[in-house]
Amino acid sequence: MSQKILLDKINIPGIKTYEVYRQNGGYASVEKALKTLTPDEVTEEVKKSGLRGRGGAGFPAGMKWSFIDKKSGRPRHLVCNADESEPGTFKDRFLMEYIPHLLIEGMITSSYALGANLSYIYIRGEYMWVFKILERAIAEAKAAGWLGKNILGSGYDLELHVHCGAGAYICGEETALIESLEGKRGNPRIKPPFPAVSGLWANPTVVNNVETIATVPWIVNNSGDDYAKIGIGRSTGTKLISASGHIKNPGVYEIELGLSVDEFMNSDEYLGGMSSSRPLKAFVPGGSSVPILPAELIFKTANGEDRLMTYESLSDGGFATGSMLGSGGFIVYNDTACVVRNTWNFARFYHHESCGQCTPCREGTGWLEKILWRIENGQGREEDIELLWSIQSKIEGNTICPLGDAASWPVAAAIRHFRDEFEYHVRFPEKIKNRDHFVAEPFSQVKHLVGGKVIV
């Protein structure tokens, strides 16, 4: 069994409640930090831990904290990003639903480090029952003296509230989230200024993912150095992985970074292999926006090394032969899945979720969706594949926020690795009439009908 940091107590009956959580060592990090450490010492431990943002970007958390403007004299805020909406990702919900006080504890200890006296958890509106769980947990924590004025007699004050969104993927982008928290449309802001200088109500603000904040108590209770001992290289610690698709045991898993993809996929401790006798065709390791990889690049990198669950190994080879760890949304496809249909589906998602501020994204995501739809429905043209490539390349890098990139990458990767499948759709429209066209006749059986062509 590998080490668990976030889910080690998840099976204790009643761990959802304040009493049981407290009896099992809960809130110890708040006591330790407020009584024995300065805010900068807490930040230093997080820096030493090498903890990287668990929302998807993987930016070092301690460094992000160190950017917060402490000189302006303006109030500071910590905002927890619980707007989990990246297709394939459902880990934060699991954590908040089953061990809510871990997040509350992390919010208190982290807010102390940042000198924030008013902090928020921004949760997506669809997780309304989890919103209520957190509201109750905050009330319990407050009643027990962990929130409010002069916590533990330390002189430190903190108010913590939970705030709900209302159905907008874009609000997972930190500046859109801040706009939404201010009661506005979720339009991302131009950076700089970064939130650490001018965030919520123009005050210095740090936005961190749920999992990132929930890791802080362990780091404070132990040490940054201890955390850095877990994992491999710059991928320190553990990571929650949300697993879905054609696998035997879908769900949320905590893994030590450095576990091999092969073991994660095939061992009974984790995914237990495929859900049926149908063979593995492709996987997406980090949520819908990261590149899809074909079977031959899943367990081994292009260099023939074992592919590991780390930031570095999953991106080994760049986008030509690699992908990204992203949010840890691990989606597995067997040979009944159609890559064109999957790509269309994700393109529809990004088109729907584009906020509309930037023309390349607002218009481009619509074009991608429409062209992919016609290819998937037997009305594609040979030149459509080049057109898709051209559109995605014109969105990427040309927008205020990364949603444009997130919409482009899945399309680019699908064409890069599965171009022959697109050509098959264009050339044999009568064979793809049925929605489940690869169930009866998987692509591997008809692949010989088309010749793959590589474009870069």
Binding site: F90, H161, C164, Y169, E182, W201, G329, I331, R341, E353
Partner: protein, 176 residues
């Protein structure tokens, strides 16, 4: 384009006003606009799950902001409904991860069973069905949202049961 105007009875109960004031208290003085999204959820839940222009104007008045500031938010976020919908709204996740495990078949089954297409409401006003984007339940597919809760690992039998429970008034929509 002509917009149909739907009428709605506004009922701001004491309990609702108290809850709104509690939400407003979560933000610093002068930043009451921040409470807009949580307040709209509460108001919508208390008004048959939709928000008329008049109701949005009422929210603007309570939060002391301009009506346009409410309209622009209501039209941006998908969870706010701008016209009357069925008492029970089945929102099926139709993003790829759910489709890998049969979301489209479950949607087709429900559609056929209720005799309506996605996005439509049954003539008796009981049910609305819709396909929505990723709800964060990919490992428990197929699934749908019903009120404040998720119904996961759906099967045709489970759909039958949920529909029967709705008709028998056995479904709790909101956790208040």
């Amino acid at each position: 384009m002509e917009r149909k105007h739907y009428k709605q009875e506004i009922n701001m109960t004491e309990a609702l006003i108290a809850r709104i004031n509690e939400l407003i208290s979560h933000y610093p003085e002068g930043k009451q606009k921040s409470a807009l999204l949580p307040v709209l959820h509460e108001v919508q839940d208390a008004h048959n799950n939709w928000l008329s222009i008049e109701l949005q104007d009422k929210v603007a008045e309570i939060l002391q902001i301009k009506p346009i500031e409410v309209y622009e938010v209501v039209t941006f976020y998908t969870m706010f409904n701008q016209k009357p919908i069925g008492k029970y709204m089945f929102e099926f996740c139709q993003t790829s991860c759910c489709c890998l495990n049969g979301a489209e078949n479950i949607m087709d089954y429900t559609s056929e069973k209720l005799g309506i297409k996605m996005g439509e409401t049954t003539p008796d006003g009981m049910f609305t069905i819709a396909g929505v984007e990723c709800l964060g339940a990919c490992g428990y597919a197929p699934m749908m949202q019903l009120g404040d809760f998720y119904k996961e690992k759906l099967t045709e039998e489970k759909i039958d049961q949920i529909i029967a429970d709705c008709r028998d008034d056995k479904i709790i929509l909101h956790d208040k």
